[in-house]
């Protein structure tokens, strides 16, 4: 069916985007309002993908191309979004930006904590001045509310806002929350396979991956969980963030656990930041207890749980207190599962590729699972109100400082149950373990000094 084309619909479809020609369902003329760029350029004899920014040699392959009749390079890195090859053209809109309909007034009557209010002011300032700021907020600080007033200020000034996060789960949770407080502005949720892909809206919640399809689109770019996999690993995602924002725009980073470099920059005054060291419920973060777990891996291979780990689990079962037990890898977790199930057959385990991951998380919420073993997949994002947390094998490399801080941050989340217990069982203390504990203590200290904690 032919789609009616008006110049305005083409503008709305293309504004702020960088798309493959074949992704555009309109005939593309040689209008001065359109700019075409070659999908792959060559820089210093290296290929460069103009969509995802890949330059690594292994990310490109050659094929005998039927379109151009030559040996044609293509980018394997962003292939799943449609192949960018040497003869593909990417198109962008360089005409006037279409206006948004609707109204960006905030409808929210909640109260910000003192820490949130300070951060909220910093966000508003960054939006107004097109500057950068890092919001360093502990797990449970309530970082979403911190954004509300800044987003409102942007929308009322006809600015376009994007919140980028590494996880689809977070997009799905955040978009309706924002739509509720901005009922008269259209909120678009973008993730692999989402139906919203083609709508033009002033407020976009997107996975970092989907940013590849944008170019100079946003006046305000908010990057959630900057330290989280895969964003921190992927220079191409950094490229995507930079490409998707306008040259003159605000850049706001949110995280509970900035990496070493960032923490240092903050200390040296080289990076503007605001810290929220206290949770919204005014109770301190649970400080992890460290305990020698011995050669737990060997014990599990021999078919038994280390005594203290077993006792920890049994105590939770007896007291009817739910808990998450984190493992460094799937294989050791799956070996341990039957040993835990001897204590209680309803104990379950979950990992990233687990097809019933969602169901297990739901069962945990409904208290049908007493203890849930997990890889780092539940390290962030997912919140259960009243749980204890243990890490088995905290010495493993996968447990970085930020992973351990995030894991400890799962406990004591609700105001009704602010006191979860956190235990790190280890086979040798690592720097990361010590840093994580120091990090949490430091936050509590700062929270107390500010008078943002009640005890």
């Amino acid at each position: 069916m032919p789609i009616p084309v008006s110049p305005s619909s083409l503008a709305a479809f293309l504004a702020g985007r960088l798309l493959l020609e074949e992704e555009v369902p309109f005939p593309l003329s040689n209008s001065p309002q359109l700019q075409f760029i070659s999908g792959i350029s060559t820089k210093n004899q290296f290929y460069h993908c103009e969509r995802c920014g890949s330059t690594k040699k292994e990310r490109f392959a050659m094929f005998p191309c039927a379109r151009c009749g030559k040996a044609c390079p293509y980018c394997r890195h962003c292939l799943m979004m449609g192949r960018v090859s040497g003869c593909s053209r990417l198109v962008r809109w360089v005409g006037p930006e279409p206006l948004f309909e609707g109204d960006g007034t905030l409808h929210w009557s909640g109260q910000l904590s003192e820490g949130q209010a300070a951060a909220s002011d910093a966000v508003i300032r960054a939006v107004r001045d097109n500057s950068d700021v890092l919001i360093w907020a502990v797990c449970g600080a309530g970082k979403t509310e911190v954004l509300f007033q800044g987003i409102e200020a942007a929308l009322l000034a006809d600015k376009r806002v994007c919140i980028a996060t590494p996880r689809t789960d977070v997009v799905l949770e955040l978009a309706p929350r924002l739509q509720k407080v901005f009922p008269d502005a259209k909120v678009t949720a973008l993730y692999g396979g989402s139906l919203d892909r083609h709508s033009y809206s002033p407020l976009v919640v997107s996975t970092t991956h989907q940013l590849f399809r944008f170019s100079e689109a946003f006046d305000v770019m908010i990057v959630d969980e900057v330290d989280a996999f895969p964003y921190s690993y992927e220079s191409t995602l950094q490229f995507a963030v930079q490409k998707a924002r306008k040259p003159l725009s605000a850049l706001i980073y949110l995280t509970a656990t900035p990496n070493d470099t960032w923490q240092k920059e903050c200390r040296l005054g080289k990076r503007p930041f605001v810290k929220i060291p206290a949770r919204f419920h005014r109770h301190p973060l649970p400080v992890p207890k460290l305990e020698w777990g011995g050669n737990w891996r060997k014990a599990i291979e021999k078919g038994r749980l280390p005594r203290n780990i077993k006792e920890w689990a049994v105590k939770r079962l007896e007291e009817n207190k739910q808990a998450l037990l984190f493992f460094p890898h799937i294989d050791s977790m799956e070996r341990a599962l039957p040993l835990f199930q001897q204590l209680d057959p309803s104990i379950e385990a979950v990992h990233a590729e687990d097809p019933s991951r969602k169901e297990k998380v739901t069962f945990m919420r409904e208290k049908k699972i007493p203890l849930l073993l997990s890889t780092t997949v539940l390290e962030r994002g997912v919140t259960f109100p009243n749980i204890d947390v243990a890490v088995i094998g905290a010495e493993d490399d996968v447990f970085t400082e930020s992973a351990l801080v995030q894991i400890a941050g799962r406990a004591g989340r609700s105001a009704d149950f602010p006191d979860g217990k956190v235990r790190f069982f280890h086979f040798g203390k690592t720097k990361a373990i010590e840093k994580a504990v120091a990090h949490i203590r430091q936050m509590n200290k700062e929270g107390r000094e500010k008078g943002w904690l009640d005890r």
Binding site: A61, F63, A66, R67, Y74, L79, M80, R83
Partner: protein, 237 residues
């Protein structure tokens, strides 16, 4: 350093001594990825390679599956395809693999099973290799012909003898519709075919109808025997 074509993990660790001394190409897939595919071993239909274990014995006669028996009852298609060999079953991993290779257009994946295709071809008697052609529009869309890519990366020279005259949408029709429908292919080159044994390469054997259409045309043009080799064997009817 060699990375697995699917997961980018290094594959060097799994080299055998022949690969280590560069007598053979290193594996294109790591062991973990490779193990997700299911090679067709054990008893299979003598004509089409369909694993017999999955079929009700009532639908097998003399080592030939009921699908093939039905084809042989059809006077037009009787005996046009001497046999088909398929390397892998069309399980989830293969489904994903073919989607990425063919629809997403990840050309290099044609190398993933090239060595195995090379080996398999050694057991098939043929004079000439042809790839199932794509229509012009589909070829433009995908940028390459997946059957051709499989052949080429396995070191097989293909002869450009026919073309597709009906679009691939044709293949969505039901079996009977297709059986009675007009030819999907047209010959471009007749002379090289006569008295030759032909091997047709394709990515997947689903109903066998595309391959039989092609085989029929080749037979009519004078081929003495037509066989086919596909990477995957689907469970079509």
């Amino acid at each position: 350093m060699n990375g697995c074509l699917l997961c980018e993990e290094e594959t060097n660790r799994s080299l055998n001594w022949r690969q280590f001394f560069l007598l053979e190409a290193p594996p294109a897939l790591c062991l973990k990825c490779h193990s997700t595919f299911e090679r067709i071993t054990g008893e299979h239909c003598r004509t089409c390679s369909k694993p017999l274990a999955a079929i009700d014995p009532a639908f097998i006669a003399d080592g030939i599956c009921s699908d093939c028996l039905r084809w042989e009852e059809d006077l037009t298609f009787q005996g046009v395809l001497t046999g088909n060999s398929s390397l892998y079953s069309y399980n989830e991993a293969m489904k994903e693999f073919i989607a990425r290779f063919k629809y997403r257009g990840d050309y290099v994946l044609a190398r993933a099973f090239a060595e195995e295709i090379k080996e398999a071809v050694k057991k098939i008697p043929f004079d000439l290799v042809v790839a199932v052609p794509l229509s012009e529009e589909r070829l433009y869309e995908r940028g390459f012909n997946q059957a051709e890519a499989l052949a080429k990366e396995a070191g097989l020279e293909t002869a450009d003898v026919f073309e597709r005259i009906h679009s691939e949408k044709q293949s969505k029709k039901s079996r009977t519709e297709r059986l009675q429908g007009p030819q999907v292919f047209r010959l471009k080159e007749k002379t090289v075919i006569s008295n030759k044994k032909i091997l047709i390469i394709d990515d997947i054997y689903t109903t066998g109808s595309t391959l039989r259409q092609a085989a029929l045309l080749l037979k009519q043009a004078g081929a003495v025997e037509v066989r086919s080799l596909t990477l995957a064997r689907g469970q079509g009817t």
